[in-house]
């Protein structure tokens, strides 16, 4: 292994002249890569091998490895390198990788962070996590098996997330007697598939992670292979991370730095481009302009800072700028929009709920977003586009989405930072999806709006009222319909134009195609929200009486309406009281198990945190409650 020694750790230099070694090390570049591919193709073994060859394994760790290999290893008495990487107890027991492991090594030229990804389909989200920060992917193939479904899936995902450097490592060559013909066939097979999914270029090599062929030096077992060994390729492959620096300047603001009245700086990681004092900038989405005066760091002000650096910048003017804003070159700012087309990768066991409101985080912006029914999902095996109603775990699809506020963005192909986003479930707080924006749907592109002369203000003025949605929420039997009915009666006496939507008039018509699954209940509320919105456009005061147990759904409707027009009314009746009333006998059925998913019994009710109005039906009669509500919404115009 003397060759390996010289590549990795210049022991002689360290011993003789540590200062020049440190100087050399300090100026190394960084390559982040992943290993991926199908189950058992030897990803973890390869990384274990790289660590072992690069002397990153200390004596005490090696002793432990040898003992472990005999105990739980998959290679009999021989060293099982995968055990160096598969660090979780469950992984070692099952001999598989569940989650990404990040490992580190260096050669004379470069430092490496390698993420070992799991091959099992079940853990695709973990593979995608690893891939999202990688500059290069080593896709492994078991030479005995050739291209498998997971090889395709991972290749597709690597390409989707924008990894430009792909290495196809045909592994376990030792098990096919280093057969060139078989190797060539696999490479040709892969090349056809790669072309189909848009991978323009890849570097193939025959290796054995287990035996060490073509890892650090060219192997005598494959004299026909004339390319570089893996390590040399990793050391010399050109990095495209300077490409970001030549794009226009973008700095998503993370935090406003305001230690005292004399200093106001904006902190963030430069996504693309560079910045120096004197540059003209524009703050988005407001569009306000100013000039950069300083780029501040603890080590002194900088003459220039580039993409990839974390900085704090100051402006010449007191322009409004806060977290979520993006500071950009004044003359080439990014777009702002609230409707997009995007590719989504679903990562949660709970499938996408079309129409549900999720948190969307993009750069430093956090907004609410709803996803439409997917246009299609991709079958990674055949590359077919399939029709789909939703996205299940690990599905990849294209869909339109809308955010409740305009966001600053760029297509993912131009900027990972301003084009990549995650979706977070508002109830479980889990990260459920990842997405890559394609482009914004200008309204004109989406729905052709007929310009009308009689707008919502005209409708409202004619009716002499301010349109609103009085959204009653509460348990079954809490008194929503009774009170809403009473409110409508009183408004009617006051000559107001109203309309009451409740389960009966909606479920029998508009929503009769919907059942009571979670997805259908969300869709039910979404449609009610849209109808209520149209009615407010017509100038009406709309009352709705639905249990609407989920905060996320109520917030979704709130977000559809202009500020101040959604009035959430919490009909606050304790479960015992509602259950004791049991007007329709539903609680009894639910308790006996005859009725499933009943709110309050085996399905949660999320009480409003800050409702505009709360009525206590234990202390008030329906008429009193209605009077209370009317007083709270005065004046009506």
């Amino acid at each position: 292994m003397s060759d390996a020694e010289t590549i990795y750790k210049t022991d002689a230099l360290i011993a003789e002249d540590i200062d020049s070694y440190l100087d050399q090390h300090q100026h190394k570049s960084l390559l982040r890569f992943i290993t991926c591919g199908s189950v058992d193709d030897g990803k973890s073994t390869l990384i274990g091998r790289l660590l072992y060859d690069s002397k990153m394994i200390f004596e005490d760790q090696l002793e432990a490895l040898q003992a472990d290999s005999k105990k739980v290893g998959t290679q009999g008495q021989e060293i099982d390198f995968a055990l160096l990487v598969d660090g979780l107890a469950a992984e070692r027991e099952q001999g598989i990788t569940i989650d990404v492991a990040y490992r580190f090594f260096a050669t004379e030229k470069r430092k490496f962070i390698v993420a070992d990804c799991p091959g099992h389909e079940q853990y695709t989200r973990n593979m995608f996590t690893g891939a999202s920060t990688a500059d290069l992917a080593v896709i492994l193939i078991d030479a005995r098996k050739g291209v498998l479904v997971q090889t395709r899936r991972h290749s597709y995902l690597c390409n989707l997330i924008g990894i430009k450097n792909i290495v196809l490592a045909v592994n376990k060559m030792d098990l096919i007697d280093y057969d060139q013909a078989k190797y060539d066939a696999i490479v040709a097979d892969y090349a056809a598939f790669a072309a189909e999914i848009g991978i323009k270029d890849f570097t193939a090599m025959p290796i054995s992670g287990f035996k060490g062929d073509n890892i650090t030096t060219n192997s005598a077992n494959t004299p026909w292979y004339t390319g570089k060994p893996l390590i040399e390729h990793l050391e010399t492959v050109e990095l495209d991370n300077t490409a970001d620096q030549s794009k226009p300047f973008r700095l998503p603001v993370q935090w406003v730095n305001r230690p005292n009245l004399d200093f106001r700086g904006f902190s963030g990681l430069i996504a693309t481009g560079s910045v120096k004092p004197g540059d003209a900038i524009r703050v988005l989405p407001s569009g306000k302009t100013s000039t950069v005066t300083k780029v501040v760091t603890l080590d002194g002000d900088l003459d220039e800072a580039v993409a990839g650096q974390s900085v704090t910048v100051c402006f010449a003017d007191e322009v409004d700028c806060s977290r979520g804003n993006v500071i950009a070159t004044a003359d080439a700012p990014p777009e702002v929009s609230d409707q997009f087309e995007a590719t989504l990768v679903w990562m949660d066991d709970d499938a996408l709920h079309v129409g549900r409101s999720y948190w969307l985080k993009l750069g430093t912006q956090m907004v609410s977003a709803t996803v439409q029914q997917p246009k299609y999902t991709v079958n990674v095996n055949t590359m077919e586009h399939l029709a789909a109603k939703t996205l299940e775990l690990n599905a990849i699809g294209v869909a339109e989405l809308a955010t409740d506020k305009p966001i600053v963005f760029e297509p993912y192909a131009e900027s990972r930072t301003l084009g990549g986003f995650i979706l977070i479930d508002k109830i479980s707080n889990r990260t459920v999806g990842a997405g890559m924006l394609h482009f914004s749907l200008r309204r004109a592109q989406n729905v052709h709006w007929q310009a009308t002369d009689i707008g919502r203000e005209v409708h409202a003025n004619l009716k002499n009222q301010k349109p609103r949605v009085l959204w009653f929420t509460g348990l079954s039997g809490s008194g929503k319909s009774t009170i809403a009915n009473e409110v409508e009666k009183q408004l009617n006496l006051m000559n107001r134009h109203t309309f009451l939507l409740d389960g009966d008039n909606v479920r029998h018509g508009l929503n009769k195609d919907l059942g009571f699954t979670e997805a259908d209940r969300i869709e039910n509320i979404r449609r009610v929200g849209e109808v209520a919105k149209l009615m407010t456009d017509a100038g009406l005061i709309v009352l709705t009486a639905f249990i609407s147990p989920f905060r996320a759904e109520r917030d979704m409707v709130r977000a559809m309406l202009p500020e101040g027009e959604f009035i959430e009314i919490f009909v606050d009746t304790p479960l015992e009281v509602a259950e004791a009333r049991d007007v329709k006998g539903l609680y009894k059925k639910a308790r006996s198990g005859a009725l499933k998913n009943f709110t309050g019994i085996d399905s949660p009710y999320e009480a409003p945190i800050n409702p505009e109005i709360r009525v206590n039906t234990v202390e008030m009669t329906p008429v009193e409650a209605a009077e209370h509500i009317i007083r709270a919404i005065l004046p009506l115009k």
Binding site: G87, Y102, G363
Partner: protein, 301 residues
């Protein structure tokens, strides 16, 4: 003009970005400060991240009363220099029962550190805690996310971690739940030393070789740091040129014999050594193969 950032520049930028995200999204963040070299780097990065403001969170030292004297000294000095509030927490039950590493074995770490940490976080209501753990330290740490989600009882579920895409961190959580954040996850031991060297970051002098009183026990060189060290029969402290690769409770931390008196010498020794840094710690060994993973599930950092 474009230029390739060095690996240290990339690591620094990433760590600073992580810290700012936490400050922007968490309600009550805190930095766990253990006074070791990793804490030293983490604190320095925090000062960079928020300069000219002082880092907008306190430092928390979950103390065991058994740290080296020099560590307490540096701790107080750094808190002052950084302008940050220093909170020192002692598990009252461990205090009362006089839990110590000589008489109580693993219970010492369990009560002072694991329990102490959980109590301290609950006591102050911190919902995000920065820790200086690195992925190159140990095989279960190599698997952990940068934002590592903890249940209301501080549990970690390694088989069900949240996906973590690009540099988009999900800090959302329900009441009572919390997040441990590891801003220097991707740094290696060598990166830490080199960064300390380049930035002149103050560290505890115990990392450098000096003559110190020691005794040898179970193949480990222990330093007699104060008179609470119970000498066994026939044991006499011997002056040796030693230093430490890692710092913890002095009765649990093994020294190495060394002449390295400067940072380059320390780095040189580290690079030429053949054993891992955590080998000098008793804590990783008890409990066998998955001991760190288990500790982490129970709430240890």
């Amino acid at each position: 003009m474009t230029r390739t950032l060095t690996h240290l520049e990339r690591l620094e930028a990433e760590s600073i970005h992580i810290m700012r995200e936490v400050v922007a999204e968490a309600e009550r963040p805190v930095m766990l400060y253990s006074v070791g070299k990793d804490s030293a780097v983490m604190l320095h990065l925090a000062r960079k991240a928020f300069y000219p403001s002082p880092p907008p969170f306190p430092l928390l030292h979950v103390d065991t009363t058994w740290k080296f004297q020099e560590m307490y000294k540096l701790r107080d000095r750094m808190a002052k220099e950084s302008g940050m509030e220093l909170l020192v927490y002692h598990n009252p039950e461990a205090m009362e029962r006089g839990i110590n590493p000589f008489d109580h074995g693993p219970l010492h770490t369990d009560m002072w550190k694991t329990e102490g940490l959980k109590q301290a976080l609950d006591h102050y209501g911190f919902d995000a805690a920065f820790g200086g753990a690195r992925r190159d330290e140990e095989k279960s740490r190599a698997k952990e996310r940068i934002f590592s989600f903890r249940t209301a009882t501080h549990g970690w579920d390694p088989k069900n971690q949240r996906p973590e895409l690009w540099n988009l961190y999900n800090a959302k959580k329900a009441k009572g739940e919390s997040i441990r954040v590891f801003p220097i996850s991707n740094w290696t031991e060598l990166d830490i030393w080199q960064y300390i060297h380049l930035n002149d970051i103050p560290i505890v002098p115990l990392y450098f070789s000096a003559k110190r009183p020691t005794v040898e026990r179970d193949g480990m060189l222990l330093m007699v740091d104060d008179d609470r060290f119970p000498l066994k029969e026939g044991e006499v402290p011997v002056e040796r040129s030693i230093r430490f690769r890692t710092l913890g409770c002095y009765p649990l931390t093994g020294a190495v014999e060394s002449d390295a008196k400067t940072l380059p010498e320390v780095i040189q020794e580290m690079l030429l050594t053949t054993t891992s840094e955590r080998q000098g710690r008793v804590i990783d060994k008890d409990g066998g193969d998955a001991s760190m993973e288990k500790k982490k599930q129970e709430g240890y950092f």
